[in-house]
């Protein structure tokens, strides 16, 4: 069966930080994780960005488990945004956006961002010369 893989953002509240939730993802749902970013403050909220892979069925069950634990779970793409005050509409990012979330609007030649299509790959963040593509985690 095909592996399913997605980058997700998990937001913690202070009470849950203590519990081994990620361990459960591995043990109970047979998921593989790769921590891409983590920011956890003692007695405060935290954010973890994970790439989670496994069977689609297990992936969905794992996400449900996290939500039942009271964690906020979102695809990383929800944290990607285009800073329209910075964007110069060059289009350099469009060559890297495989989902077509970033594309030229015709005939204006403006570069528009469609968050619905974004998969959070972050390639545009590296490609943008004026740093207009942003990941906002907190």
């Amino acid at each position: 069966m095909a592996m399913y893989s997605k980058k997700i953002v998990i937001r913690y509240t202070p009470d849950i930080v203590q519990q081994p939730v990620i361990y459960q993802l591995v043990k109970q749902y047979d998921l593989i994780f790769n921590i891409l970013k983590a920011r956890i403050f003692p007695r405060r909220e935290g954010v973890i960005v994970l790439e989670l892979s496994g069977l689609k069925e297990n992936f969905d069950r794992g996400i449900r488990f996290l939500k039942e634990m009271g964690l906020k779970v979102e695809p990383l793409s929800k944290s990607v945004s285009q800073n329209i005050n910075k964007c110069v509409h060059c289009g350099a990012c469009t060559a890297f956006c495989s989902t077509l979330a970033l594309s030229f609007e015709k005939p204006s030649q403006k570069v528009l961002f469609d968050p619905e299509k974004c998969n959070g790959c972050e390639l545009c963040v590296s490609a943008c010369p004026v740093r207009a593509m942003e990941i906002n985690l907190l």
Partner: protein
């Protein structure tokens, strides 16, 4: 001498501009006008065609004079927000280059480097009115005793701030691809392995020097749109090279003419001067330039009607050939192809994307058009046109 049916002078066109009678169109609009009316009729009707470009132009920077201090200093070393500026000019003059990187930056030791701050950012911060930390060191002389100076300034505290870019508005530029098996990071941006993407960098039919390929109207003293205000062409740009292969329309098929430009930084606007951090390469500055082209005769009408499909450039491999200095183009492509989003080389479809902004180039051409129509912008008569040989 060529015989023309229409003959106008810059002086005559300027009279019309002052009377509010000049007919001005953008280089995009001119295409249709010449197609419909022919070049002779178009030359009679149209007085000025405006162009525009907005792209990263590394060869840029600003001369700054921060005024004499008390006690006086011969500032031989100068930093702006910890970015070194060149202090070997005069006591309180310096030059901040767009590509200078902030001191202590890890550069490419953490590959690919992020290059978060540099000269381009200092220039953008200055025009945005942000506070900059100025730091200077001198060696102490009888006339300039101070050895250290430090102050927070904004552009208003500077006595003079002059943008002076030695090479801008390249008439044509390479299209870059990567033939190797790993991603490379270049001044043309990220290039993915095995020609997965191609990067290019001019605004094609809107770009200034494509619309006057033999520099008949552009030279020292040509008044231009620069960074949001009126500036001038100061000199042929460095590496200006008119002697390259050209199409039957006269348009160069590779990098050719360039211009050095000058203007008052204090009048400029961050919308038209934006800092760039190019991953794995360094810092640069997006510069907005627009040049008005007077339609002196039918030849100028024809040339300003040039279209993307009639402008060609060369595709180079930036993994091996370009770094080694091998000039061996892989293919020749038109700007129509490049702007379509994909080109085909050896049967392979390659995604294309620009570094320069067509959207902003068009905005510049339109602003310049409004300025001229409103009598706010008078054409500058070049004292000497750019060399054509």
């Amino acid at each position: 001498m060529k015989k023309f049916k229409v003959k106008k002078t810059i002086k005559e066109i300027n009279e019309k501009i002052k009377e509010g009678r000049a007919v001005v169109v953008t280089a995009e609009e001119m295409i249709e006008i010449v197609e419909k009316n022919g070049d002779v009729e178009a030359a009679r009707k149209i007085d000025v065609v405006t162009t525009g470009t907005f792209g990263p132009m590394c060869s840029s920077g600003a001369f700054l004079n921060f005024g004499h201090t008390s006690p006086r200093i011969r500032a031989s070393k100068v930093w702006l927000n910890d970015v070194p500026a060149y202090g070997g000019v005069a006591a309180v003059d310096c030059y901040i280059g767009a590509t200078e990187v902030v001191e202590g930056d890890p550069l490419n030791s953490v590959y690919p480097g992020e290059f978060n701050y540099g000269g381009g950012h200092v220039i953008e911060d200055l025009v945005a009115g942000n506070v900059i930390k100025l730091r200077a060191e001198g060696y102490g002389t009888d006339c300039y005793p101070a050895r250290k100076y430090e102050r927070n300034i904004t552009i208003n505290d500077l006595r003079d701030a002059v943008l002076f870019n030695p090479r801008n508005a390249y008439q044509n530029y390479n299209c870059a691809v990567n033939l190797s098996d790993t991603t490379i990071y270049t001044y043309m941006g990220m290039l993915r392995p095995r020609m997965a993407n191609a990067a290019y960098a001019t605004s094609g039919q809107l770009s200034p020097l494509f619309n006057d390929p033999f520099y008949r109207t552009i030279g020292i003293g040509t008044r231009i749109f620069l960074g949001g205000t009126q500036g001038f062409v100061a000199w042929p740009g460095t590496q200006h090279n008119p002697n390259v292969p050209r199409g039957t329309n006269g348009v160069p098929k590779q990098g050719a003419g360039t211009i050095a430009v000058v203007g008052n930084l204090k009048e400029m606007n961050p919308e038209w001067l934006a800092a760039a951090s190019i991953l794995g390469y360094g810092v640069s500055l997006y510069v907005g330039i627009g040049i008005p082209i007077p339609i002196l005769d039918e030849e100028m009408a024809r040339q300003t009607a040039v279209k993307d499909e009639d402008i060609y450039t060369q595709v180079y491999d930036y993994s091996m050939d370009y770094p080694k200095g091998v000039t061996n183009p892989l293919a020749e492509v038109s700007y129509k192809d490049l702007r379509s989003g994909a080109i085909i080389i050896d049967g392979k479809k390659i995604i294309t994307a620009p570094l320069s902004s067509y959207y902003k180039a068009r905005q510049i051409a339109n602003i310049l058009k409004e300025w001229i129509e409103g009598g706010k912008f008078i054409l500058g008569e070049p004292q000497q046109t750019l060399p054509i040989a």
